[in-house]
């Protein structure tokens, strides 16, 4: 159900764009209004969500320690996986965000039973990490070279990225690897979700939908560039007009496929702040990763710490005083001794209740 629905949703979205543009001629709606609305939704939604997260307190210092603590001077601490300093946290976050370090640790359960005896091993499993990291970086590269549609003159750096991306110098227009990898990796992640029974079991519509959506974006993009050869000059005219906030629909006709492409992109932007895609800002704010592990050395303050009802020592002694005295345990108040002291002039009052040995500091 989740899969079919997600796939259908993306197909319907494409159909809507086609119908809207090719059928009803609503180029301004799909070329200007919806993209603007989507971008505004994206930024507003993202900012509001992050602010909401920020308003939620961090009452306790709860990093997951993944390496040796800093304790005795002759034991080497792991300052990245158990960071006691801000620098360490930055290094940990750097590796987490840019190399997906935690995911790189992934293992695969190998569970067998041999002669009635279970044999459990944790095998190596790097595919998820590989798919994920290629997916994200190719997405980034695609985003970066798309800047050429929104800038004039095109910055040097964008040209460089494009040149690197077209490293294979294959085809005309030159094949940009990033787009192909992006679609392939989205496919690989989808394939994994469908074929691994447990991963399929946990998957929701909201897991398939973004994958289909991104694949749709990638495929429409690739088709435009390599097969249909859409009018790139007209497209740039439109995108530049969007960038400078003076939107115009160009005179020259643009293939509806382009409108389908930017409609899907718009949907992705608008969907982002309300979906699991918020893992992008979220990874920076995860308290198990972004806190220093020095809570024994430096006190972490809880903004809503409130007093609680405890059972005090006095209450405890009240409950057990007789038993304690009988067992020879020192007490704060010994009624018998106090009574004797009151009678006999108070010589016992000063003595500490039987300390076995007094040691000097």
């Amino acid at each position: 159900m989740h899969v079919i629905f997600s796939l259908l949703a993306v197909i319907v979205l494409i159909a809507i764009a086609y119908a809207g543009v090719a059928g009803a001629g609503m180029t301004y709606l799909f070329g200007v209004v919806i993209p603007y609305a989507a971008v505004i939704t994206f930024f507003l939604g993202l900012i509001l969500k992050v602010l909401k997260w920020g308003r939620s307190a961090v009452p306790f210092n709860i990093p997951t320690t993944c390496g040796q603590q800093k304790s005795l001077p002759w034991i080497k601490p792991n300052s990245v996986d158990n960071p006691t300093s801000t620098g360490g946290v930055l290094a940990r976050m750097f590796f987490e965000v840019l190399t997906m370090r935690s995911l790189f640790r992934n293992t695969k359960l190998d569970y067998r039973v041999a002669h009635g005896q279970p044999v459990i091993r944790q095998g190596s499993e790097k595919f998820l990490w590989l798919f994920a990291i290629l997916f994200h970086y190719s997405f980034l590269v695609v985003l970066l070279w798309h800047l050429r549609f929104f800038m004039e003159p095109v910055p040097k750096l964008v040209g460089v990225i494009e040149a690197l991306d077209g490293f294979f110098e294959f085809g005309l227009p030159q094949l940009l690897l990033s787009g192909v990898i992006l679609v392939a990796m989205a496919g690989a992640l989808l394939d994994r979700r469908l074929r691994m029974p447990n991963i399929r079991y946990i998957s929701l519509t909201s897991d398939y939908f973004p994958l289909f959506l991104i694949m749709g974006i990638g495929i429409t993009g690739i088709l435009m560039r390599y097969l249909l050869r859409v009018d790139i000059t007209a497209i740039k005219e439109l995108t530049m007009s969007l960038a400078v906030m003076k939107p115009v629909i160009p005179q020259a006709p643009i293939d509806p496929l382009f409108y389908a492409h930017i409609f899907l992109v718009s949907v992705l932007f608008a969907y982002f702040p309300f979906s699991k895609l918020m893992h992008m800002p979220g990874v920076f704010m995860s308290p198990t990763r972004n806190l220093t592990t020095n809570s024994r050395e430096v006190r972490h303050v809880n903004p809503w710490n409130y007093p609680v009802k405890t059972h005090t020592y006095d209450e405890y002694e009240e409950d057990f005083r007789d038993l304690m005295i009988e067992a020879g345990l020192p007490v704060e108040h010994n009624p018998a001794e106090e009574a004797a002291a009151a009678e006999g002039g108070g010589e016992a009052a000063e003595a500490e209740p039987e300390a076995p040995e007094e040691k000097k500091e």
């Binding site: 997260w53 306790f60 709860i62 079991y201 946990i202 893992h279 809570s295 057990f320 304690m324």
Partner: protein
């Protein structure tokens, strides 16, 4: 009541394939051995917790409070604001499944709802269904579902089948920590009075008597005295520790389980001998006689209420700082919560070892040092007279307890100690130790007696790694620094890896300690004859000196 626990080969036949039915359409089966008993009424009343009543998880009617839905919704809402961890972990999971096969309960049971991601979804689906527009309107299509009594039962079953070990959080690309989610879920369940007895009753005991077992002050002292008699019998040394003594330099706090049950008592004897050996000026407290904190397994508030005793007692007794014994979750509480909740402990001093002069800068604010840190420092400074060959009959491996590993990072200290007090030390496979360590299967209040099948299943991955080193290196002793481990492992080892025993690190230290005025150590702290143990592993017997009498007070110390 009595349900025969399945045989190991029956339990081992785990199928990790999910069922055909969608997880939102399946319900847990409350099968004996696989769930925990409901908390007794008096225990909730004793600490003023909501909805005390007589009930049973197998009942159809759980006697929830009239407005239970409102309580749950309000409980979730409040916690989303109070805990960023909770808010973010509800929002950002991508269900990549990296955590799925990391949970010991999933590995040992194959129950898909034991995959950390699904355990979290049990709560996340309600968060979406009750708080998110899309979830409210689209329901299942947006991953949301409605709050029903069945959901509460499911929560009770699965959030009391999580040991808050945090192994999944090591592998999660966003650090999503199921322990955090379980903690929140248990807090919310607690608002409805849906608590397990093995958490609720120790909490009530601890609150009133100072320890989970409910040992009253004189009993606590008596128990220690029995152990002192044993020490004298096996080592010839009579130790006279103090209790509740004002003016001692240090207060020592350890889990109460170790004063009571085998094999924890041997670790306890180890503390007594170690402190005597170095002439430490310290005292025990009968009031703060619990290092563990089962309050942590029900709510942050209850954790704070129980933990408050430590600083309060240190202040009353006027000690300089606190030394803490071997315990897992106790050290998570001390490391990540105590100072924040009940500090600042400005009436204490930055811990300095009175024996070596080492300043424990890493605990400059909590003012509490772990016994393994303390002991490692002693050994490093040659302050202990050790004869590691006394442990030669042991082939030792070390279990990193979840909390010291993933909530603290104390990985090398116990290993350093073990390598100095015994000659045969072997590591389990790297994917099962240090930050990757597998839980004992009984943490977070799950070490009860009625859920043995659940425990055996959860303990299987750890036990299987022990089996691995037993097969390869003849390992016969599993050392650890956790009292819950010591309560849990003996049964698990007997069930999964017969022939391997369990001990605390300090027990091995004490066995190797050359005490002043000791008699020939023909017996270990367990009262087992060392030569019998040596024979079991084909070591030649030790020739003990003939004279039984003269061995006693040879000379005072020698120096």
């Amino acid at each position: 009541m009595a349900n025969p626990t399945p045989k190991p080969e029956q339990i081992a036949a785990v199928d990790h394939k999910p069922p055909a039915a969608d997880w939102m359409d399946t319900k847990p089966e409350f099968k004996p051995g696989m769930f925990l008993y409901a908390v007794r009424k008096e225990s909730l009343e004793g600490v003023g917790q909501p909805n005390p009543r007589d009930w049973n998880p197998t009942d159809a009617d759980w006697k929830l409070p009239a407005d239970w839905k409102g309580i749950v919704r309000e409980g979730i809402k409040e916690r989303l604001q109070r805990f960023r961890s909770f808010q973010i972990f509800m929002d950002i999971c991508v269900r990549c499944g990296a955590c799925a096969d990391k949970c010991h309960f999933f590995i040992g049971s194959g129950d898909p709802k034991n995959m950390p991601v699904l355990r979290a979804e049990l709560l996340r689906s309600i968060y979406r269904g009750e708080f998110k527009v899309a979830g409210k309107i689209l329901g299942k299509l947006a991953g949301g579902r409605k709050l029903t009594e069945e959901v509460i039962k499911e929560w009770f079953y699965y959030y009391f089948q999580c040991t808050e070990c945090r192994r999944c959080s090591v592998y999660c690309p966003y650090g999503i920590d199921t322990a955090e989610i379980t903690i929140m879920a248990r807090e919310i369940l607690n608002l409805l009075g849906c608590q397990i007895d093995w958490v609720g009753t120790p909490v009530n005991n601890c609150f009133h008597t100072g320890n989970h077992l409910g040992l009253k002050p004189h009993t606590y002292k008596e128990n220690v005295e029995y152990l002192l008699d044993d020490i004298e019998e096996y080592s010839g040394v009579r130790i006279n520790p103090s209790f509740n003594r004002k003016g001692a330099e240090l207060l020592f706090i350890t889990p109460s389980g170790d004063v009571f049950a085998d094999p924890g008592i041997f670790t306890f004897m180890g503390y007594l001998m170690l402190f005597d050996h170095i002439g430490l000026d310290y005292t025990w407290s009968t009031y703060a006689s619990e290092g563990g904190n089962f309050g942590f397994f029900t709510s942050h508030e209850m954790m704070k209420r129980l933990n408050a005793k430590m600083y309060a007692e240190a202040k009353r007794l006027g000690v300089k700082w606190i030394l803490g014994g071997e315990c897992g979750h106790m050290w998570r509480v001390i490391t990540q919560y105590m100072d924040t909740m009940n500090g600042p402990a400005d009436f204490l001093e930055v811990p300095v070892s009175p024996i070596t002069g080492t300043r424990f800068q890493n605990s400059a604010s909590t003012k509490m040092v772990h016994i393994s840190e303390f002991t490692a420092d002693l050994i490093h400074n040659n302050k202990l007279k050790l004869d590691p060959s006394r442990n030669d009959h042991l082939r030792v491996t070390f279990h990193d307890s979840c909390n010291p590993a993933r909530g603290m990072g104390m990985l090398e200290e116990p290993r350093y100690i073990l390598n100095n007090v015994c000659n045969n030390f072997f590591e389990m496979p790297p994917q099962t130790i240090r930050e990757n360590t597998f839980c004992c299967g009984g943490g977070a209040g799950l070490n009860a007696g009625e859920n043995m099948e659940m425990r055996f299943r959860g303990g299987l991955p750890r036990m299987n790694a022990v089996q691995y080193v037993k097969d390869r290196h003849g390992v016969n002793m599993l050392a650890c620094v956790c009292a819950v481990d010591r309560a849990v492992f003996p049964a698990h080892l007997e069930y999964w890896v017969p022939g391997v025993k369990n001990c605390g690190v300090t027990e091995l230290v004490a066995n190797a300690l050359v005490m002043d005025g000791e008699i020939p150590r023909q017996y270990n702290l367990r009262g087992e004859e060392v030569n019998d143990l040596r024979e079991e592993v084909d070591l030649p017997p030790i020739q003990w000196p003939e004279e039984e009498e003269g061995g006693e007070p040879s000379e005072e110390g020698g120096e």
